[in-house]
Symmetry: C2
Subunit: 159 residues, 2 copies
């Protein structure tokens, strides 16, 4: 069982989609391990460079490069701050586009906990109001949970 | 506004999580552009090597390496088939773990269409039953849609 294809997608043969595909564009911008771990820490509330690079466990050079890319992609914004007696520094805050990645980040987390278990106890995600476990799912704007076989893709590619 | 942290996550300071984090393990296994594009084509129903590598637009060598990794990660399974008069070939089918990545893949797609637009008309995802647009969201097992501020993480890390 796979998704349903409509429009040009249904008849594209074996031609590559290239940059027409949003998955491809997203992966080119932010589709690497360090970027996702920096986003994890941003969702955890970390904002400062020292904290971000140490929590992710990469070198300062790698963290600086990836943060620059995340700012360029519009996922983080760099805001100056200054503590008394110190020089001006910058902190990194999630933008609207950054916050919009939460289902992806939690989807990656939930998948890893279930299908790539480690020797550690898994991290559980839960709903503050009812305590039930939380998962990334597909939902339509009418409020229905959408299964793979009821998902229709590609209705307006090149339309 | 960020997620709420409980347990060891709330007081971990700046120590890296490393392999304790499911996001990290997932990204190590399948967190690259070619892997996500191969998954896209698998969800579109492509199963054969020639079709997969051409639709993704990478060389045979790169496609072969990434498919091997996806099989090792348990996301695809390699199944022999044989057409009359031909030698045995293999096709690649999504496993349960592979199908479970659909919200991540659609989350990446939806994000790219909204926040990294191209010059092309966007691909729309819709619900076969009601036609409404489909998005990746967070939902708890009681059926509530969960917002970022109502998401609690880390309730049992090292518990």
């Amino acid at each position: 069982m796979t998704v349903q294809l409509q429009g040009k997608l249904a008849s594209r043969g074996d031609t590559p989609l290239g940059d027409r595909c949003g998955i491809d564009r997203t992966m080119q911008l932010i589709g690497n391990r360090t970027a996702m771990l920096l986003l994890r820490e941003a969702f955890h509330g970390a904002t400062r460079f020292d904290s971000l690079h140490q929590r992710v466990g990469v070198s300062e050079a790698v963290a600086a490069q990836r943060l620059k890319e995340l700012v360029a992609a519009g996922v983080l914004t760099k805001v100056p701050y200054r503590e008394p007696g110190q020089r001006t520094r910058h902190e990194y805050l999630l933008t609207e586009a950054g916050h919009a990645l939460l289902p992806v980040v939690i989807g990656l987390l939930g998948w890893g906990e279930r299908y790539a278990p480690s020797g550690y106890n898994p991290t559980r995600q839960s709903h503050a109001h009812c305590g039930e476990p939380v998962h990334a799912v597909l939902q339509c704007e009418a409020g229905h949970v959408v299964t793979e076989e009821d998902l229709v893709l590609g209705t307006s590619v090149d339309a």
